[in-house]
Point group: C2
Chain length 205, copies 2
DNA sequence: ACCTGAACACCGTTCAAGT
DNA sequence: ACCTGAACACCGTTCAAGT
């Protein structure tokens, strides 16, 4: 039986899998061809070149991001829920999100969440420039976190001992603090804490 | 006159310049050799290979980070001043900071600022796990911002029109908000706003 | 101790040629 | 319209050989 024809979608899917598994750096046109059991040059016919392949990957990732629904009673709770949902979505494909960010599509990636954030910030009583700043502050907070977390995963922990020593010396009078800083970060917890604090700070005053 | 002997420092300096100018991806061993007017293989004698060259670059960048001094009267002001100083330091060499982050040295990079943050958070009355969370929240906030900003510079703005259309539709009843969101972000301003809000949220309650 | 060129296995991309 | 192999210029790295 003849080999089924290669489609642009086949190429994008395989590329997305490879990127998600080992990062964008590990995506080679030749390796991708091997994965698809085809000649390297066929890929060029379908997607142009490596650059536009990554562009297409970024676009597809942005388009696949679902609209977030806010949950909770107060605007504060609802904003935090949007941030958490957004982070969860992004963390499902951290490497692809990194590609999106690298290619300058970060703003577009936020469009669905932005609508929800605008609504909630408005409901909380913020208007005009202050509302815009609040929306953007939350957006930056979320992407920043995801980018930081992504690299924390890839490069587990090095020189932990060194950091712990410093912490101890600086937090001498507060052993619980020193102990807390010696433990690895609980990202989810820290994220929620930070977003809550940020939102509180943005809404009050 | 004979060519002056090549040193490890020569190699690291030239590499740092190349990375800072065009990003880590643009650093090739052969290009570096050309820049230093030497054979590629000499570089290997001095720094091992590309991987450990980047490691060394990250280490050197971390070591060069000056200790930050807090300024201002209240703990709140002093924490914000540390965050701003840190961001300023990091933004001076955004590409090298990205290398540091990629190689998992982010925590070590923060050691100097961490001492200052611990002191101020303590002065603000936080203790134990809550103090640790506050310190880390500020740290994450700063790196996150720098990482986001670095990519914003590299990939200016694309599809601005698309984003503007969405914003308008979502912020219909608040023209100033719509206008504010259509303008490009003032990163410095947004950063200060966010850090203030975060710190306020962390300290109160 | 330091530097060199040759060589290897990889890479992205182009192109002329096939069906 | 789709796929192919050959070829080009690049890359990181190793190694045996020089001084």
């Amino acid at each position: 039986m003849p080999k089924p024809a290669l489609t642009r979608e086949d190429v994008l899917d395989a590329a997305a899998r490879l990127v998600e598994r080992h990062g964008p750096g590990a995506l080679s046109m030749r390796g991708l061809a091997a994965e698809l059991d085809t000649a390297v040059t066929s890929i060029y016919w379908h997607v142009g070149n490596r650059e536009s392949l990554l562009d297409a990957l970024a676009e597809a990732t942005v388009d696949r991001l679902a609209t977030v629904r806010a949950t909770g009673r107060t605007p504060r709770q609802r904003i935090v829920s949007v941030a958490r949902a957004l982070r969860r979505d992004l963390l499902e494909h951290p490497q692809l999100i990194a590609v999106v960010h690298e290619r300058g599509l970060t703003e577009r990636m936020f469009v669905p969440a932005q609508r929800a954030l605008i609504r909630e910030v408005h409901a909380a009583g913020l208007r005009g420039a202050r509302a815009a700043a609040a929306v953007r502050a939350v957006q930056f907070q979320v992407v920043g976190y995801v980018l930081v977390e992504r690299n924390r995963e890839r490069a587990p922990v090095r020189a932990r001992g060194g950091a712990a020593r410093w912490d101890a010396s600086a937090a001498d009078h507060d052993p619980p603090l020193a102990r807390a800083l010696a433990h690895p970060v609980d990202s989810e917890r820290l994220f929620v804490t930070s977003v809550r604090a940020l939102v509180d700070g943005l809404l009050t005053r």
